[in-house]
């Protein structure tokens, strides 16, 4: 038998549905304040329940694994992170958007520098966890090596080192949702948002409906990773050129190179464009969002693949979106409305080259007040044969393209492989 976790098991279970039983009033937060102390720290750890001022806890989904570790006696419930030497490897901000309560509603702009701006709270015993971590890395992708060998990219010894090693600054970001701001962004009443989040998840976090005083929700979902090529300070410098791709996870293509979509080829093309911009004195930014299968998840995605390939007439561009809607009820669940927050966190006000054909992404970015100068479609030669169905369907639906959009008849003629 493993040892049992060190925690006061004799204490009664405190359900979270009744404020009076939950503990003292949480520290007030002034979302959007430029002063981090006035804004207040996000306290999501469960080591000191009395200090908590959020719904949910840290690490997104991985909180569930943490609970397993405590239940099985492998982790002390009272463990506090020793944050020695973990501070950001590069400075991001603060930028003006950090103090605009409407520009950023789905992450904590101070999330990387809590160790610096909340020292007084730490002294008082608060267990404040970073929700953003910034490090540096060297990355190497076979396609970039190929671009070097073909002369499309040059090694410069600084941004791209010998052997195609690309030097990047990267940031991992956990979602921190300010519910009033999120409701405003999605044009929905906050109480309806809270109630629906509770009911439609099968009853996750009753506090969503019982604790309107708690304005912050740390949802158990994946976050995002930012890859910066070139000098991070160049990102927000209007004198410097900026290339950006916001990429939504597609494990089947990004990792395994499935030929049914353009995800990895477009991602790699985005990185290539970022390198060129950085080498010319600007910067490049890739944001990788954990939104597998348009945020429908991979089970739904594979069900849709089967339905597409088996439908009468086979997999074809003119029926591309319909099959997703049959299974999922919507074509897409990515909520690009929330996506620009990370760009505002980075201080972006203008994007010179936006490596995306998505209308939804484009409109979300420009609606949030960021200018886009040029949109860069995926080069034709990078589209896998079976992915023609996807790309032509998207172009016909309004995605950006420099080429002609196909007629309905032509669209129906774009056929993918069967289930073989």
């Amino acid at each position: 038998m493993v040892s049992q976790p060190k925690r006061p098991t004799s204490q009664p279970i405190v359900l979270t549905s009744h404020p009076t039983r939950f503990g003292p009033k949480p520290d007030a937060l002034e979302w959007g304040s430029a002063n981090p102390t006035k804004r207040g720290p996000i306290v999501g750890t469960v080591t000191t329940p009395a200090h908590r001022n959020v719904i949910g806890t840290h690490s997104g989904s991985y909180a569930v694994y943490r609970a397993l570790a405590i239940a099985s006696g492998k982790l002390d419930a009272n463990h506090r992170a020793d944050l020695t030497n973990t501070s950001p490897a590069a400075r991001i901000g603060p930028y003006p958007a950090w103090s605009d309560p409407d520009k950023i509603v789905s992450l904590d702009p101070f999330g990387a520098i809590v160790g610096e701006v909340y020292t007084k709270f730490y002294e008082k015993g608060y267990d404040i966890r970073p929700t953003i971590a910034i490090t540096k890395a060297h990355i190497n992708m076979p396609e970039l090596q190929d671009a070097v060998s073909k002369g499309r990219l040059q090694e410069d010894g600084q941004i791209m080192k010998k052997g195609g090693d690309l030097v990047v600054t990267k940031a991992a970001i956990e979602p921190v949702w300010y519910l009033p701001g999120l409701a405003k962004r999605l044009s929905v009443d906050e109480s309806i948002l809270r109630r629906t989040l509770f009911e439609q998840t099968g009853g996750m976090f009753p506090e969503l409906v019982t604790r309107p005083d708690l304005k912050i929700f740390l949802p158990p979902i994946g976050g995002m990773t930012v890859y910066i090529v070139g000098d991070p300070d160049a990102i927000a410098d209007p004198q410097k050129s900026l290339t950006v791709r916001v990429h939504d996870e597609c494990n089947g293509s990004d990792v395994f190179g499935s030929d049914i979509c353009t995800c990895r080829p477009y991602l790699v093309h985005g990185i290539e464009e970022c390198i060129r911009t950085a080498q010319a004195g600007g910067a490049g930014v890739i944001v990788y969002f954990r939104k597998e299968g348009r945020a429908l998840g991979e089970v739904t995605k594979f069900l849709v693949y089967n339905a597409r390939k088996r439908q009468a007439g086979g997999d074809r561009a003119d029926a591309y979106f319909a099959r997703t809607e049959c299974v999922a009820g919507v074509q897409d669940m990515r909520f690009q409305e929330l996506m620009p927050d990370v760009l505002h966190w980075l201080g972006i006000t203008r994007i010179d080259r936006f490596i995306s054909m998505s209308d939804m992404k484009h409109d979300a970015v420009t609606d949030s007040g960021i200018e886009i100068i040029e949109r860069v479609p995926i080069p034709d030669e990078l589209i896998p044969a079976d992915a023609r169905v996807e790309i032509e369907a998207k172009k016909a639906a309004g995605y950006y393209t420099k080429a002609d959009v196909l007629t309905e008849e032509e669209l129906a003629a774009i056929q993918g492989r069967g289930l073989e």
Copy 2:
């Protein structure tokens, strides 16, 4: 303004903490029964609360996005998936392990074939969702093309087609946790497991403690994807050879090729080995688990990277595990104890070549009753220079290797790059 969701808003909010207010008694489940009707369907949708017999809902984390779609009026709360043409593209099982309540506790073995085995429930109006989807794909990775051009792999026109296109059968699997079985597997009392899952997630799902009659939990975490190379029927055939790699997600390496670890190189090596086994008449299986950064998440991972590279003496193999433990309280949170479930779902009883050096993975697999004939370490030439720290630290900690384990002095001398 967007339109409001179509749902009966006049109904009172039903908190889930009190069984009597929750509705009728759920259909009983007999976990581990070979008869799917006796076992009973997993009903996790929220369209018909009275039919639900689980805690949580479908799609893992993505249920949160679904809730956003309903709150913002984009998805009808009553939408039911049209599952026409979505049934599995290949048959898996049933296998003897499906009817052993101890062999599989973290997924639903019938999850892919609900449309076939629960027709009577569908007729009665049950909204049963597949938790597993099986499709076919062609994948193409630059490293595999390179292996072909170097003569390490051959195109055969069937398993590997022209241009290095690899034909695979793949399955996406959502976690379905049978809580009594999970507790037993982790050697913890079920009530402690439930209470800790509730408390340590910040109060997610009070039903974990208030509804001991609900035995199934659909946790809001990522699941896994199975890639099968060769004939799926060969997997469970003791006359055929089988190669397996169970791989835990590492986005920084798997997608972006970070040189600090061996994740993508080892994954690709695993696929290469799977191809060779399949071409010789056997089968290969890769299981990709969504357990980023040892299930600690990417923010923790990047904090640890900074601490490793900044510590006195620099990033070195002899201090590799200590830095993770400082930040996270444990070295690892992946719970490999649950990992073999998917192998049992696939009918595996013997693995001829296990592409992993991990003792934790090896022991979990063999403890679950699966024989491992040979363990295959990562070829030396595939280890990136900066990843020496990781691999030597792991070998010294007991990971499998054919080479000599380094002395403490040698270990301290294995140094990685600083934060540059």
